[in-house]
Structures are given as C-alpha cells and as structure tokens.
Symmetry: C2
Amino acid sequence: MPKAYIELEDRFRRTALLGESIGMLSWDQSVMMPEGGANARGEQIAALAVIRHSMMTDPVLGELLVDAADSGGLDNWQQANLHEMQRQWVHTTAVPSDLVEAMSMASTNCETVWRSARRDSDFDLVMPSFAEVLNLTRQVGEAKAAVLECDLYDALLDVFEPDGRRSDIDPIFDSYAQFLPDFLDDVLSRQACRPEPKIPPGPFPVAAQRKLVRFMSEAVGLNFETARLDESLHPFSGGIPEDSRITTRYDESDFTLALMGVLHESGHAMYERARPLAWRRQPVGEARGMTIHESQSLLVEMQVCRSRGFLGWAAPVMRDAFQGAGDEWQPENLYRLATHVSRGFIRVDADEVTYPAHVILRYRLESAMLAGDLAIADLPGAWNDGMLELLGATPPNDRLGCLQDIHWYDGAWGYFPTYTLGAMAAAQIFATAEEAAPEITSGISRGDFGPLMAWLGKNVHGKGSLLSTSGLIEHATGRPFGDAHFKAHLRARYLED
Amino acid sequence: MPKAYIELEDRFRRTALLGESIGMLSWDQSVMMPEGGANARGEQIAALAVIRHSMMTDPVLGELLVDAADSGGLDNWQQANLHEMQRQWVHTTAVPSDLVEAMSMASTNCETVWRSARRDSDFDLVMPSFAEVLNLTRQVGEAKAAVLECDLYDALLDVFEPDGRRSDIDPIFDSYAQFLPDFLDDVLSRQACRPEPKIPPGPFPVAAQRKLVRFMSEAVGLNFETARLDESLHPFSGGIPEDSRITTRYDESDFTLALMGVLHESGHAMYERARPLAWRRQPVGEARGMTIHESQSLLVEMQVCRSRGFLGWAAPVMRDAFQGAGDEWQPENLYRLATHVSRGFIRVDADEVTYPAHVILRYRLESAMLAGDLAIADLPGAWNDGMLELLGATPPNDRLGCLQDIHWYDGAWGYFPTYTLGAMAAAQIFATAEEAAPEITSGISRGDFGPLMAWLGKNVHGKGSLLSTSGLIEHATGRPFGDAHFKAHLRARYLED
C-alpha cells in the first residue's frame, strides 16, 4: 500500500473520531441536556468543528490525496475509500472560509426568523433573511460546482446524495407527477367505498407505549446492550454502530406516532449498525448517502410494518400492550388505518402515496429558485399552484404551505429529493429481497426480521460507500434504479388489495 | 495587555472547551452509555486527549508563556492566570511522551489485575504490576520535580493540591495521629453509655428516594434548569457551571447512602457553579485544587447536614418522603445515626472522626514507598501495623486492608491527603461563616442554604484559583490554615453534645 494512502487512513480515522464526539454532544443536547447548557454546548461543538475543519483543510492532506491517486496499487475498497476522501475534501475546501461563516450565520439567523414567520403564517417576515440564505447558498453551490465540474444544483445535492444528478431525477419525478393525479383519484374513490377504519380509543399511557416500542425495536433487530431509546422533541437516529441512539416522542392520544417513528428510526439504526466493520471510521465504511439511508428506514416502516403480514403478527401485541379489546384491534382494521390515504398539506404527516408530491413540488421550486427562474416573492404563489396541480388542493395559508419545513430556511438545499428516491429504492430493494428469500416474508409474519436483516446486511448495509447509490441498488436488485417497483407496490397495496 | 498574554487566553480557552467535551463524553460513559459502546468511547476520548495534549505541548505555547511573563502589564487576576497556565504547561511538558504512554498502559493493566486481587484478597497477584506502576510513578515525579524544583512527593501532590508541600502536611497529620487514639476512646465510651440509635425500617423505594434527594439537592441550591441528577455505579459530580451533572446510586435498604451522597456531590457542584464567570475557561477561573473542592462537599455533608440544626428541619421531610412513623424518625435519633462513630477498616465507610486515620496511614505509606523506604512486599504488614497504631484494630485480610482503594493501583499518588485537608478546611471555613453571619445558622435550621452559599460564593467559590489553597483559606477565614477548628468541631459534636 502506498505510504500516502496509509497516512490518509490515519488522518481520516482521527477526523471520524472527532465526528463521533460531536455526534455524542449533539445527542446529549437533544435528549439529556438541561436548557441552561445550550450556549456552552454550542461553543463546545463549535470548537470541535473548528478542529475538524482545520484537519480537513490542512494543505498536506491535499498533497497526500494527489500522491495516493498517482501511486496506484490500491484494491477496490481502497480506491473507493480514496474517492470518498476526495469528495469530503472537495466539500470542505471548495468553499472559502468567510463564505462558510457567512452561510452559517445567515442560516442560524433565518431559522430563528422562520420560527416566528411560520407561527404567524407571515412569509414577508422571513423574506429578507431567506433572500440572504438563497444568495449565499448559490455562492456555495457555484464554488463546489466549479471543482466538481457539475451544475449548481447537483453540487448542492452531492452533499446529501453523492453523485446524484438532476438529469437522473427529473424523468423519475416527472413520471410520478403524471401518474399521481389519476392514481390518487382511484385510490380515494376505492377507499371511499369501504367503511372508515376505527381508531382504537386511548389514552395510551406513556409507560405502556415505551415498553411496546422497545419490544418492536428489538423485533427489528436492535439489541439494547448496544443501543438506547430515548425521547426528544424531534425524533432521530444517532450514535455509532456499537452504540445506537434512537429517539421518539409520545402522544398519549395516538400510540401509532411513536410506534411508526421508532420502527422508522430502527431501520436507520440497523443500516448504521451493519456497515462494514473492516472500514470503520473510513469514508468508504460510511452509509451511502441519504437516499439509501431513507430507503432503509422506509423499507422497515412503509414496506414491512404497514403490511398485512406484519400487522397480522403485531396487532395482538399492540392490543395486549394497552389491554385493548374490540374490533379496532383487528389486524385488518389496523392495516386500513396504517394505509389510509388523504390529500393533506403537510409533508411530514403525508401517506406514502401523496408524499412524493410534496417532495416533487419542493424539488421543482428549489431548482427554480437556485436557477433564478423563480423570485422569492413569488414562492407562495408558485407553491399553491404546484399543490393544486399535484394534489388537487390549495393550502389556506403559508404556514400550511411554503413555511412548513425548516430545510430551506436552515440552508439545506438539495435534500428533499432523497426522501422520495429513498421510498422508491425501498420498494425495489424489498421486492428483490422477498423474491430472493421466501423466509423473509414468512419471518415478518412471525415478527422475525432476522432473514430480512441478514439479506440487507449482505446486499446493502455491508457495502458501505463502495458503490454509487445507483450502483448499489443495481447490485442489490439486479436491475437499474427506477420507479417501477414503487408504482407496482402502490398499485398492489392501494388498488388491488 | 501584552499580545502574548491575549493569545494565551485564546489558546487556553480552546483547550478548556476540549476538556469540557471530554468531561461530557465521560459523563455519558458512566451514566447513559450501553456497555457495547465502551471501546469506541475509549477511542473517542483518547482522540480528544491527544489533540488537547498536542495543543498544550505546542512549542509556541512555551514561547508565549515566556513572552507574557517578560512583558509585564498584567493585573492580579491575569498574573494568577498566567501562573496557572505555567503550572498546566509544566505538568504536561515535563514528562516525556513515552513515559506518559508507559504510565497510562501500566496503570490500566494494574487496575485490571487489582480488581481480581481485591476480590480474592491476594496481594501477591498484583505485586508485579504494582511494582511497575510505582517505578513509573517515581519517574514521572522525578521529571516534574526537576522542573518544579521540589521533592518527588510534592511534585506528584501538585497535580491534586497545587503548591501543596509535605512539610506543611506532616505537622498537621502528626498532630492528629497523636490526638486520635485517646479522643476516639473517649468518643466511643461516651457513645456506649447511650442507647443505640434506631435505624428506620425500610425498604425505601427508589422512586421516593429519588424525589427526596432531588428536593434536598435543590435546598442546597442546585437548580435543575441548569443541572441533572442521575445514577451511576460510582457517584460523582461533573459537568460545567451552567449544566451540573451529579450522580448517585440507590440502596432500597438504606436511604441515607443516596441522601448523604447527593448532599456531598451538591457541595462539589455548588462550588463549580459559582466559579468566577469572568474567568470562565481560563485556568485562574477553575476550582482551587482537591483540598478546597473536598472542603466544599464536606462542609455541606459533614458540617451542615449531619448537624442537629439541619436534621431538625430535615427529619420530618425524610419521614414524610417514606411515609414513616415512629421514634426512629425523631431528629435526635437521626442525628445520632448520622454521627455514629466506629473503628472500621474501610475508608469510604468511615465516620469523620476516624476518616483522617485512614488518610494519614495512606499518606505515610505512599511517602515511604516513593522514597524507597518501604518495599512493596512489606506493604501489607506496614498497613496492618499502621491500622493498629492509629485505630487500634488490624484488618483480617488485605481486601479490607491495603487492597481496598483503587488510587495507587490506578496511578493516583499524592491524592489521599486532600480528603483530610479538605475536612479540616471545611471546619475552619464553616466556623468562620457562622461567626460572620448568624443568618447562615438560622437559615440551615429552616432548610435555607441561601445565606451560606452567598457567603461561600463571595469568600471561596468566586475566587477561582486567584490565591493558593492556604492563601484562600486564610483570606476567607482571617486565620492561617490549621487543624484547630476541625478538632474543636469534633470535640463539640462528639464529646460535649
């Protein structure tokens, strides 16, 4: 192995350890920290981030990357590792540090204003700081695009979806946008012909919910000798493979929020836990971007846990957890509840049929704003037009419209597409897994995720970042990545079932 | 202000932020982390420690320290800050890095062997690795002594008790060793003439204990918007002034262990919280060594919370916490329990009368081992002889003797004296506080620690490391540091009361 490459592995290992430490401090901040600690925690994390940044921008690192690439003698994994090192290096060094600082300040400021603007449904309030975020985001994108030799949007997308390209996303999203209106009409008319599913009567005590979701998380595969499950305002999955930290929140009037949330986060955690151990703390050993990550949480939550097979096993477990009785706890009723479709305005509350419409709208609008084809002042109108076109309904105000998500205001541009690409990847991967191993389907109907996780571990999780997103999906499924399986899944679940 | 000094403040601020981050990761490790995370956490903390070490050993730092000292123009606090910076620099740079590493490995190894040796009461088992730790400790001490221009023991003591000197400790400890045997006889005969105090009958449910100790901690002054109280195997006080993290453990058969433990840790935390804000993250803003730290926990636990005044208020609170009834809950009975004296073999279980004997024994033995006057093979015998001389009893085995404490085996030499110096400082400081402000005494009898904490904040906590330990005590009490108040306190509580 070339000396330069060995030195690079050592440097990236140290950077990864700093990243893990920052992750731990952030977990504590969201889950454990008393509010008085906020400022000090911000300073601690910033100090570690500055150190990590200086390690990543050390000119010697740039030289080592060139030397390692020139000297050859690397195997597949090492080459992919070097490639991911280069990617991290580009994202860190392409943007001048004064622009990084300006972007950080502008998005912190804009996020604060956005909280008031959303509360009061007052888009004008956030416009000036939003314009500043957009302006700086464009500069960041241009700086990265110049080095990555791609267009501005793709350069921003690359942070969340490495090697993702608009030219690949457009046809998939356009096709779904065309497919949806008629399909949604069909689904809703079919749903209207059936009696409304019954909602099990609460309240559902938090202690009982806690026990149930922990049990379900263990069924998915989490082992609490190497994991924790806690509460936080915004649920997330964090930690490291040997020490997963997932969170949820409890609503005593509806246990399915915590339950489906924990199943979702467990899917994320199972991916993190089965990354290739031999490449721990190396870029190639990390998860392959947000599309694949979201595919793993949605595979568990949407493909598996909202299925008849799973709910047949889970329904009595849920019923017993709350000492319930009555028809509401019948598997078929819970299945109807878990797959209920509606035209809603809020993305995070959307079902799997309409969710992509929310994403496609945001993707189109952020592309247009970045390209200069849509002025910020025209965003609320364009949003409402898009909702009408895609979902056939117009939000009554901007709080339920273009002010609902934090992403843009916080500087996360190019993130949205990964939600729906993930949902589509989940359908394609799960269909392949079920075809490949019948014990996966039968296992799920007994609450046994072992065969599914073994297949995913081998074909997806264990690959780390060895392949590109599309390469990984093609390798795992034997077919190019597309939306065919997702549409087939929706047709089967919502029209034929 | 000289430029070099300004640069130093900036560098030490960043080092302190790393220290806070390490502290947070350690807290999580002891309190929250699932066991599977242990190895990864070790690596994370080691990575941050290496970075901190490289920041502290940067040759530029040494030059800045010289420049700042030469240029003058510093006020009292700045001069003291520079002095503490120099101290940290000496302790970090005086020892060659290969010796630091060897010491770290030897003490980790010896600690592991010690756990088995203690379990089996087998001193021979630990002898070889213990000899290695002693040998390396001596080398570390010699390296520091050469720079600090003091003797070997004082160089080790300096880590825990800055500027502490054996020549100051010897007369105090010798005097107590002479005082104790007769005094203890008197105390025990007097105690024998009274009926045994009655132990309130348990069990004491953990939930009720948790509520009680939290309430008591708030009475001392902790505010849980800027603090947490959790559980860990070994109770400790950690965190930062704005986010205190204290821990305890619960025994359902005896609530006083958690209660007294939390009061003790609350005393530590109150000190940390009232350090001078203007000097946050600077060496002079830190706590003034282990003697003063222990004085603040013992002042709360021993001086205040085992007093008749406090227990008169606290007894009914405790009784109600456990819905108790009967004579056992009378303040006088609980006071007799809280001040019960006995000849025990175990330091951590000792009462305040006999505790110093345990410390004096260890201090004498570690001094002799470091000086080469006591061979390791002769330690068990010397221990037993010392116990007989000081406490009039010989432990039946080494598990209850020289194997009971982790300190030496883990490489903490020169730590023990601070426990008893702290107890003596607590007596002197509390006596002065009560003389100065009568509302302190009356407040305590109503469960109001406000006046006491205000006085301590002004006279002790807020001084940070501006003065030496003895200077701080003399400043706060108007008298040189000595054992007179401690002995007077013991006489008053155990013979005249």
